[in-house]
């Protein structure tokens, strides 16, 4: 089960609960499933071109996601994904 959790800072603006996904091979697939259920959250995490917002950071099993534009980072069947706000500014 892939789990996706979102920073509490985001909850202040838009409700997006923790998700448990039966299957998601990439970060792109995981986020697509979450945003299908919570479409308003998409624009808070992704920019207009579908990449991660500059000041959003995603960690997959403790590693920062690398493919910020294509969201192609691979997930394991039991990956834990955390969507956080980066501390680079914003």
């Amino acid at each position: 089960m892939v789990t996706v959790t979102f920073t509490s800072h985001l909850q202040r603006h838009v409700s997006v609960p923790r998700h448990e996904l039966a299957q998601a091979a990439t970060l792109r697939e995981a986020l697509a499933q979450v945003f299908a259920a919570h479409p308003q959250a998409r624009g808070y995490v992704l920019d207009d071109q579908g990449g991660l917002r500059t000041h959003v950071a995603v960690f997959i099993d403790g590693r920062r996601a690398c493919d910020r534009s294509g969201l192609g980072d691979a997930l394991q069947p039991d990956s834990q994904v955390h969507v956080l706000q980066a501390l680079t500014g914003g």
């Binding site: 800072h9 985001l10 603006h13 838009v14 308003q40 624009g43 808070y44 995490v45 920019d47 207009d48 071109q49 579908g50 917002r53 000041h55 959003v56 706000q85 980066a86 500014g89 914003g90």
Partner: protein, 362 residues
């Protein structure tokens, strides 16, 4: 006169109301969030607040009950950038810098000007937006430059009340652009503007002009005033031609301009020293007013702070209401004043607000 004032600040949208005891601060909406623009739509009373959340992007909210409740509506979004396109501008919303209602006979129609330079149109009160591609794909758009921000932006949207298909937008830095056909086609409309910051041979290049703010007289829509980066310009023919006002009180540099709703010869400005020193001249904040189409200016400081002061008034932080007598003025130092007599005397409403980006009566 308008009895309510909306103050868009770096830390929320703050409401002021005028009651029996005078003006008083009321609720703060979106507390902690930067508000880049606020619009009161006189056609249906709706309020719009544009937020710039930093980490989480730019958002738009609407209230249909005078600010008691807000709902998030769609924010303008840029379309996918074609593969291999060498456009140096990001196709990504960076700021909602201007909002304007369509014509009286166009209920629900809104315009939004943004960074990095896209104009957007909504036909459903912000529920959805589409990029005005005719302007975005204009080849000269790619030569627009940032002015104050890293990317160019549309800060002024003028809709002709006689015919709302006639539009004019002001761009920092990309001059003024005019459409006669509801945005289907566009033409540069900055003839006569002069850019002192350009090489001499390019000083009159229309696409290089940096109008900081452009406003239109509601009762005489052929008259437009522009506070430009290095001067004040006036058009009497709907923006086709501009003439420079060379003397205007302590300085011709500033960001804001407001025009009287019925008298096209009356306009107000909030001058600063110059572009590389953005403070009041001699440390003394004043509001200047012309009542003769720019031939002469009066300078008012009654109620404004004594020197040394550091207040700077941004583009959308000097506004006049429909009466032409009541004005509001706010600064990046967090000070807010109101005038009930056409700008001659000012009354401080607050001296400890966050930096103010935009004001709106209504």
């Amino acid at each position: 006169m308008s009895e309510r004032l909306w103050v868009g600040t770096r830390k929320g949208l703050i409401e002021f109301r005028r009651g029996a005891g005078g003006w008083a601060q009321r609720a703060a909406h979106f507390l902690g969030d930067p508000v880049s623009q606020v619009l009161h739509d006189p056609r249906d009373g709706a309020l719009y607040a544009a937020l710039n959340l930093g980490h989480f992007g730019c958002k738009l909210h609407r209230s249909d009950d005078g600010g008691a409740n807000w709902q998030e509506v769609a924010a303008p979004a840029y379309p996918p950038k074609p593969e291999g396109d060498d456009d140096t501008a990001p196709w990504d919303l960076k700021l909602i810098w201007s909002l304007a209602p369509g014509g009286v006979g166009e209920p629900g129609l809104l315009w939004a000007g943004t960074l990095p330079g896209g104009l957007f149109r909504s036909a459903d009160r912000g529920a959805s937006w589409r990029l005005v591609e005719s302007l975005w794909h204009e080849p000269l758009r790619r030569q627009w430059a940032g002015g104050g921000y890293d990317w160019p932006g549309i800060h002024s949207i003028v809709v002709d009340p006689r015919d709302p298909r006639r539009l004019l937008v002001g761009v920092s830095c990309g001059g003024c652009w005019r459409s006669e056909d509801d945005g289907a086609s566009w033409a540069l409309s900055a003839q006569g503007m002069r850019a002192a910051y350009m090489p001499p041979e390019q000083a009159y290049d229309q696409n290089s002009q940096d109008p900081h703010r452009v406003v239109q007289c509601a009762a005489a829509p052929d008259t437009l005033w522009a506070q430009h980066h290095n001067g004040i310009f006036l058009s009497r023919d709907g923006g086709r031609h501009w003439s420079e006002i060379e003397r205007a009180g302590p300085s011709v540099f500033g960001f804001a301009v407001a025009v009287h709703p019925r008298d096209p010869d009356t306009a107000w400005f909030a001058p600063a020293v110059k572009d590389e020193c953005r403070v009041p001249v001699d440390g003394r904040l004043v509001v200047t007013r012309t009542r003769d189409g720019g031939r002469s200016f009066e300078s008012f400081s009654d109620g404004l702070p004594p020197a040394p002061g550091y207040d700077l008034v941004y583009r959308h932080a000097l506004v006049v209401d429909g009466s032409g007598w009541r004005l509001a003025l706010a600064s990046t130092s967090g000070n807010l004043w109101i005038s009930e007599d056409g700008g001659e005397r000012w009354n401080g409403l607050s001296y400890h607000l966050p930096p103010v980006s935009a004001l709106a009566f209504g």
